[in-house]
């Protein structure tokens, strides 16, 4: 099922909507938001210079720092009285990023999330358990409103207290799970510890995952734990843009459909800032077309992706963004080699003798970068001899070497001994700058 007719427009129709909205948005931010006006004036750009979608690339970027510099409401284009909701990002570094919504923004946000839920297979018959942490984070309430709008039964269980989550899941007959992929895997593990087989004893058949990227091997883990017939999709968004609802995977699993009547995606070279041609990989930049409270022009997401404009088998014509292959921020430079933690994850998840969780510790010893990766050992058949365990370490090492071109120390640790994360997983500890 496709929720909105805007998801199946022709390219020409989509672009007409985008251009009209872009012109209006640029005119509005120029008038209402001093920070945008200053940036545009600096390069001699006026709203009337935007005459086609090709003019978008002439506009200045917006970055996370702009939000911090204008904390809390400096980037808002409406008076505070018009807001009906305020959210904020986790703010692990520096001040949190504050975002706001007018009544129309809420309606638009909700509609976008509903589209994404439907893409992932949700219907009004579903019992949806939302295991994102409720609070200032946009994820939980975003999915909450979107699923309620669809007519699903929403259980706002929030994150944490996994045993109780499982009790509700069983007793309410939950059919749809909203969580970060790592928390979903954790819930599945805890279920098994409690003697519950998620495949047989629970009714969860749809997983709408977000808040962090899900790699393909993680998706395979998900099928193993929750059942081959589970509909496992991920969706994308960030609070600066609106929260969840920017894009989501349909059941064809060939990238995330961008809600293009509300968001224009571009891919840029993260170093030069140049727009790259369709199909090329680079940093995702998003312009929000429909927001009243907090219009955002060319926001640099720091997420690495590429855009695919070919029509999808699902019937949607909207552009798809490839599942994220890392963040330009997360990139580690180890002995001069660029390393994305997702590359390491792909390798580790392909090793059947270890569990899906891992920790990367980067350090510097005698002026040389070192990388140690802790993985949970789970395969009892290797307990015959130290030689077999040693061979496992070696094989992981050499697989990583092939992918990264780097040597890493592998440390086998006991199952369930690595930290589990209920929100975004923090897998990398870089001790070099501490």
């Amino acid at each position: 099922m496709i929720w909105a007719k805007e998801e199946t427009l022709s390219r020409r129709e989509i672009e007409e909507i985008q251009l009209a909205k872009l012109k209006a948005t640029v005119a509005r931010v120029y008038e209402k938001v001093p920070a945008y006006r200053a940036k545009m004036d600096e390069i001699g750009m006026k709203p009337e210079h935007v005459q086609s979608l090709a003019d978008l690339k002439k506009l200045p970027f917006t970055v996370k720092k702009d939000f911090r510099d204008n904390y809390p409401f400096g980037l808002f284009a409406v008076p505070k009285e018009e807001l009906v909701r305020i959210h904020a990002s986790s703010g692990t570094t520096g001040k949190p990023t504050v975002v706001g919504y007018t009544r129309n923004d809420m309606k638009m946000w909700t509609e976008n999330v509903t589209r994404i839920a439907v893409m992932g297979g949700a219907t009004e018959k579903d019992v949806a358990q939302i295991c994102f942490g409720y609070g200032m984070f946009t994820g939980a309430l975003g999915l909450h409103f979107g699923l309620e709008n669809l007519g699903a039964t929403v259980c706002p269980t929030s994150s944490g207290n996994t045993q109780k989550q499982l009790m509700y899941m069983k007793d309410f007959g939950t059919t749809l799970l909203v969580a970060t992929p790592s928390y979903a895997l954790h819930i599945g593990e805890v279920a098994k510890e409690m003697g519950i087989d998620p495949k047989k004893d629970l009714k969860v058949k749809i997983g709408l995952f977000g808040g962090e990227g899900m790699t393909e091997p993680m998706r395979q883990e998900m099928y193993k734990l929750w059942g081959e017939d589970m509909k496992v999709t991920q969706n994308y968004g960030m609070s600066e843009l609106i929260g969840p609802g920017v894009s989501g995977e349909c059941l064809e699993l060939c990238g995330m459909h961008v809600n293009e009547d509300h968001f224009i995606p571009e891919i840029i070279d993260p170093v030069t800032g140049e727009v790259l041609p369709p199909g090329e990989k680079g940093e995702l930049v998003i312009t929000c077309l429909s927001k009243e409270a907090l219009p955002v022009i060319r926001y640099r997401t720091k997420d690495i992706s590429r855009l695919m404009y070919e029509p999808c088998k699902c019937g949607r014509t909207t552009v798809r963004m490839e599942n994220l292959s890392g963040r330009s921020d997360d990139m580690l430079i180890i002995r001069g080699v660029n390393v994305f933690p997702t590359q390491i994850e792909e390798v580790l998840l392909g090793v059947p003798e270890i569990g899906p969780h891992y920790e990367i510790i980067v350090d510097r010893k005698n002026h040389l970068d070192t990388m140690e990766i802790k993985v949970e050992f789970t395969d009892d058949t290797l307990l015959d001899s130290y030689a077999k365990l040693g061979a496992l370490e070696k094989s992981i090492k050499s697989r990583l070497k092939v992918v990264l071109g780097l040597d890493a120390a592998i440390k086998l640790v006991a199952p369930r001994s690595l930290q589990r994360f209920e929100g975004k997983a923090k897998r990398v500890t870089d001790l070099r700058n501490m």
Binding site: E193, F377, T378, D379, D380, T381, L383, D384, S385, Y386, L389, K411, L412, V413, A414, P415, R416, S417
Partner: protein, 135 residues
């Protein structure tokens, strides 16, 4: 042959105690135990009175556990006894992977636990040489 429990343990403070703590709580009795010094992780090997139950409870506690077979050879408590057994093994061109002994056996003869590259052959050879192998 006897059933042996192998448990993956990390080389850190209290890791062996976590295993024995579970056994104590469950009332499982240790017959033999062995572990070697290794830099990062170890395999703790044990013979217990209830191996299946032992595997079950340790697995539930999150340990990686394997049950495998070992030979238990009964020795007479006098000098040269183990040497005799090991010569029988060497003469048959078998390799001993590891060896450890039972804890107190209430006035019974000492028992030696062994794992070899060819367990079936070792079992046969030792019995043929008149060495008491516990079944």
């Amino acid at each position: 042959m006897l059933k042996q429990i192998s448990v993956f343990v990390e080389n850190e403070v209290g890791s062996l105690g976590r295993v024995t703590g579970v056994l104590r709580r469950e009332g499982i009795n240790l017959r033999a135990i062995a572990s070697y010094d290794t830099p990062e992780f170890g395999i703790l090997r044990m013979v217990v009175d209830a191996p299946e139950q032992c595997k079950e409870v340790l697995t539930r506690e999150g340990f990686v556990v394997k049950i495998s077979e070992v030979l238990a050879v009964e020795l007479v408590d006098r000098p040269g006894e183990l040497d005799r057994v090991l010569h029988v093994i060497a003469d048959a061109e078998l390799t001993v992977n590891y060896i450890y002994s039972f804890v107190i056996r209430n006035e019974k003869s000492p028992l030696m636990v062994m794992h070899l590259d060819d367990m079936e052959k070792a079992d046969r050879i030792l019995k043929e040489s008149g060495i008491a192998v516990i079944d």
